[in-house]
Each structure stands twice: as C-alpha cells, then as structure tokens.
Amino acid sequence: MKLHEYQAKEIFACYGIPVPRGSVAATAGEARQAAADLGGQAVVKAQVHAGGRGKAGGIKVVRSPEEAEQTAREFLGQNLVTHQTDARGVPVNSVLVEELADIRRELYVALTIDRGFRGPVLLVSAAGGMDIEEVAATNPQDIHTEPIEPVLGLMPYQTRRLAARLNLEPAQARPAIQVLNALYRIFTENDCSLVEINPLIITGDDRVVALDAKLDLEDDSLFRHADLGELRDRSQEDALEAEAADQDIAYVNLEGSVGCLVNGAGLAMATLDVTNAAGAAPANFLDVGGGADEEKVASAVSIILSDPKVNRVLVNIFGGILRCDIAARGIVLAFERQGATLPLIVRMLGTNVVEGKEILQASSLNVTFADTLTEAAAAIRQAGG
C-alpha cells in the first residue's frame, strides 16, 4: 500500500527526520493560504501515487500566494500522467505547499527488502534527485548498500561507512546518520516494503532535509497497523485493480482482449505467455488465489467481465487448494449474474476436475474445453476469429 508524500512526511517528522515546512491543501484557497503562511514563495507539489512528477509538470515553484492558488487550481481535479502511470494518469486531489529549499547537495536514500540477503538493505547514492533506476543501470558503482542484520539493527560502523561513501563533511555526517537511523526505525516499526528519500538534501547551512518522501507499506503486515491502513487513497488505484485487491485477488489490467482467470501467480504468468504465443493479447493478469471460494471466483470473473476490452475469457485452473467444482460454480454464477455471453475457453485439471467440467457443461455458457495449454492456445485463436 502506497502513501502520499505528505503522509510519509508526517511519519518522517514523528521520527525526527527534518522535512520542509509546509502543509497539504485540497483546494486552491488552502494552497493560497499555505503559501502566504510560508511568506509567499513556495513549491506546489501534486500529491499522486506515482514517481516522475517533476518531469511531468506536477511540481511547480511559485513566487506568491496568488501564483500558488493559480497553480493549485491547475493541478486539482486533473489527472497527472507520468512515466510511471498509464495514459490516463492518476487524479490530483491535493497538493503539498512547501517552503523553498536551499539545496547544496542532493542525495538518495532508501530501505527495502533484499531477497538475496533475506532482509532489509539500506541504499544510498550521491546521485540524488535523479531516476535512481537509471543510475543503478548505468553507474551501479554509485549506489552503496548496507545489508542490515535483524538481530543487530543498523550499526554505527555501517552508517559511518555510508557517510564516507557520500563524502559528507563531519558537520553533515551527524544529521545524515540520524536520518538513516530514523529511516530504519520507520521501516521496521511500520513494516514497510520501501522507504525512499529522493532527494535527501544538504542545505547551505549543513542541515539535512527530506525534500521528497516515499513510503510503501507491506500489504501482508497491514493487519497490525490498522491506523496506517486508514491512510489508503483508493482514488490513486486502478478501479478494477482496487476492487480485486479488496477481495484479495491479484489483478493487473493489461492492454489486450483475452480475459484470464487463473489460480496461482506462476501459472497466471505462464498463461499470459501462452496467450501471447497464440498471437493474442491478454486483457489482464489475474490470480484468484488458493483459498478462493465460489463467491470469490465469481467476483474475479465479474471483474474480468466488467472490462470493456475483453471479448473472450480464458480459464486456466489447476485444482489444488482451489477445487475445480468450486471454480466452475463461481464462473457460472458470475456469467449468469451479468448475462454474459462471451466465448469461454476452459482448461481445468486437478482436484474435482470431473465435477467442475460437468457443472460448466450443464450451464448455458458458451464453453470450449481444452485439455492442454496447447489446445487452450488453439481455442484462443479460434475464439478470437
């Protein structure tokens, strides 16, 4: 789950990480007032769950409260399209109005889980303010990492080493190290999957300030952070993906026309590959999950059917935890509820497969059965006619 910059900065401030003075505004009037409170000059930042705001025009420096009001009016209610969003972009419902910063240096700092290390790693780079993935691709030696042993936590020798790699002067190293320690506490105490400051700036008077803030919470740990769960902003999410997520269905909206209902992430990806190999394009990735009941399967199918791009549906279920008869009932339920008549290609194997097929056969649905992935690919081509 993603937080907005202003929400992340509130958490940062609680942990003692310096952030610019400022306030969030939901209306142009509030933005005007916020800029006035800062003395007129300010930076107005669109609050969206997407990186690349700067290049996309979502961050503007203003020289007066009037200009702040005008800029907020331009931002609010519009969709911002960045290289991380799709073509529709994401809606701007609030802006953050902040004091201008006196930037001497821009650093990059982040914490995430490293699969290889099997624990958290701290990453820093002197190349702050840039696209860090590009830095990683082109100049990997400019990114410095410290794996953090959970039993020890972030140790002083590690933060000293990072400060040295960033060429920080002694007066800057101390506050920078405090930021790193606070960031680790934020990461662990809130079960984050990512905390990122880009840029972490050093000001002309050697203060260290988080100019931006990114904080992603690990979905699987939200059960113990009820307060943080309330910060979710559904307006920033793809409507279908959000609906799916509510039901614990992994769904990603894609560009094609073949709706895919699959159980298991790996098989779901394999299904995309098979669909593509068949010369068709999948409309979505969908993993209905292992513990799905009839209703959850029906919800998943409804999500697929509510996507206007979809002109045929491919079901690829390998019965394990999810039994084929349950899946079949859910599919029939959803098709009948919506009165859908789209062609349905069904490939089922595993637990209770016979019962599953019988249920589908007994229904009014336009079903083509496939026994293998090869047959399924042929059927997709056929149905796409």
Binding site: R118, S221, A265, L267, F318
Partner: protein, 294 residues
C-alpha cells in the same frame, strides 16, 4: 528415493483443525501419507478423522509421535510462531504453505532457523511430494503424480502441477517435486534443491521452473554451471509480462534487467540448461532430453 521425503517421513500438520489444514491433511492421508499428528493450540486431546491425535503444542506432538516433518496451514499472523515452534521442537523439515506471512517476520525467522538443523520450505508454497514413497506434504493434487526419475522444482504451486501433469501425461514419472514458494524471503532456495537432486541417485533429470523477478534463477544457473552434472530442463515464465507491474503474491516484480525473463533464460542457456520454449512444452522438452540420454 527422491529428496526430502521418504518412507520414514512422519508428518505433523500444524493447523490441522482449520479449513485448509483439515482438507489437505485428509487429502494427504488419502494419498498414502503417514500423517501421525496434528497441532492446534487448545484442541489437544481430540482425534482428527478418528485416528490422528491432535496436540496443543509441537513439542508434545513430537514427543508422543516422533513426527519428523511439519506441514503448516495456520493463518499468516501466526505462521512465524508456528515455524519457530516447529524448529524449536526439533522438527528437521518444515513446509509452510501459508500465504501472506509478513516479510520482516520471515527475515527474523530464517535467521533463527539458520542456527538449527532445520530445513524450511516456503512460506507461500505448495509444499513437496515424493510419489514413489506415496508421501505428499503440501497442497498439490496427488493423483497427477507418477513415480519416476525426474526431479521438479518451481517457485509456484499451480505451475508446478502443470509441469507434473505434462510429464505424467507422457508417462514420465517424478522422483520428487518441490515448490519453494514465491515470497521475497523463503527458507530454501533453488540452489538448495538443485544440490539435493544432484546428490539423489534416483533422480536422472531436473525440471526447473523459474519466473521473472529477483535473481534467484541466475544464482541457480551459476550453481547448475558449477555443480550440477545432471541435465536440467528450464522454463522461465513471465516473458510477456509488462514491465513495472506487480504480478501477484509471487513477488514477480520486474525491477531491473536481471529480473527479466530474457536475462534469466540467457543465464540458463549459458549454464547449459535445456530451454523449454513455452509453458506448453514442458513435457515434450523433458521427453526429448530423456530420449537423448538413452
């Protein structure tokens, strides 16, 4: 013979009285698995299916039944505790099926286990099976398996079944099948399983199913190149997944070039693995390689 499981495996099911735990315990028993105990705190003294004693703790279950494999189905918030309890009780092999275990809990759990003579499979995995020993410790449908001499390893569940079904369809049996799980932090890696298959005299060929995301397939490729003498057939799925999108709990996040399917396939090809062109070709590729072996 196969790996991890054999005729001596005595299975304990943590969460045996829950919906999934009871379903899969029954399915395992129906397959022939020697389920000797269940554990559900507060339910000690009950009998599961009128034959399997249920205990309040893993330590009690191990003391009373000499269980040596634990299969975990408890809900995600309790899974780290269940794993630690099994490890503390001296269970040498643990499979945690539970999906949605907090990642930072797992970071601590794997370090705890590193100190102990314990192998953890998972979490968020389908488990493992040894068809020859009729021993099924997981959620895979047992009847798709056929005893034989091909070792299967995969990250995910249903894709493993797909691989097995294609093999069995062509009459190619399996020595063992293991799904190591798709979470960011798991107990046993591809490399661990590859080494076990290499050492298993009853495995002739390895079917390896990888995915986009992370670099575990590259590490496996390095291991194959350096240590594995047996032929490996490799499928990497996710080649057509769009970049920048998160594909479900498998944690298939395309983060950098090395996480992409092409990079993984290249590493595997460089390691001398036989590349399976599409997910539909698992059985055919394995059959061809076995044919070459004569």
């Amino acid at each position: 013979m196969g790996i991890l499981l054999n005729e001596e495996s005595r299975i304990l099911v943590q969460g045996i009285t829950g919906r999934e735990g009871s379903f899969h315990a029954r399915a395992g028993m129906a397959y022939g698995t020697n389920v000797v105990a269940g554990v559900t705190p507060g339910r000690g003294g009950q009998l599961f299916e009128e034959q399997v004693p249920v205990f309040d703790s893993v330590a009690q279950a191990v003391a009373e039944t000499a269980a040596n494999v634990s299969l975990i189905f408890v809900p995600p918030p309790f899974a780290p505790d269940a794993i630690a309890e099994a490890a503390d009780a001296g269970v040498p092999l643990i499979a945690c099926i539970t999906e949605g275990v907090p990642v930072q809990d797992m970071a601590r759990i794997v370090r705890y286990i590193d100190h102990k003579p314990v192998r953890l499979i998972g979490p968020n995995c389908p488990g493992m099976i040894n068809p020859g020993a009729r021993c099924k410790v997981g959620i895979m449908p047992g009847d798709i398996h056929l005893p034989g001499r091909v070792g299967v390893v995969s990250r995910s569940g249903t894709l493993t079944y797909e691989a097995v079904a294609q093999l069995t369809h062509r009459g190619i049996g399996q020595s063992s099948c293991v799904g190591i799980g798709g979470d960011p932090i798991i107990g046993t890696s591809f490399v661990d399983i590859l080494r076990l298959y290499e050492a298993d005299p009853d495995t002739d060929l390895i079917v390896f199913i990888g995915e986009i995301g992370g670099t575990m397939e590259q590490e496996a490729a390095a291991c194959i190149k350096a240590e594995i003498s047996k032929p490996v057939c490799t499928l990497i799925v996710g080649a057509t997944a769009p970049p920048g999108k998160r594909m479900g709990h498998a944690g298939a996040i395309i983060t950098g070039d090395s996480a992409r399917a092409e990079a993984k396939i290249a590493a595997m090809r460089d390691a001398g693995a036989h590349i399976i062109p599409t997910p539909a070709d698992i059985g055919a590729t394995a059959e061809a390689v076995l044919g070459e072996m004569g």
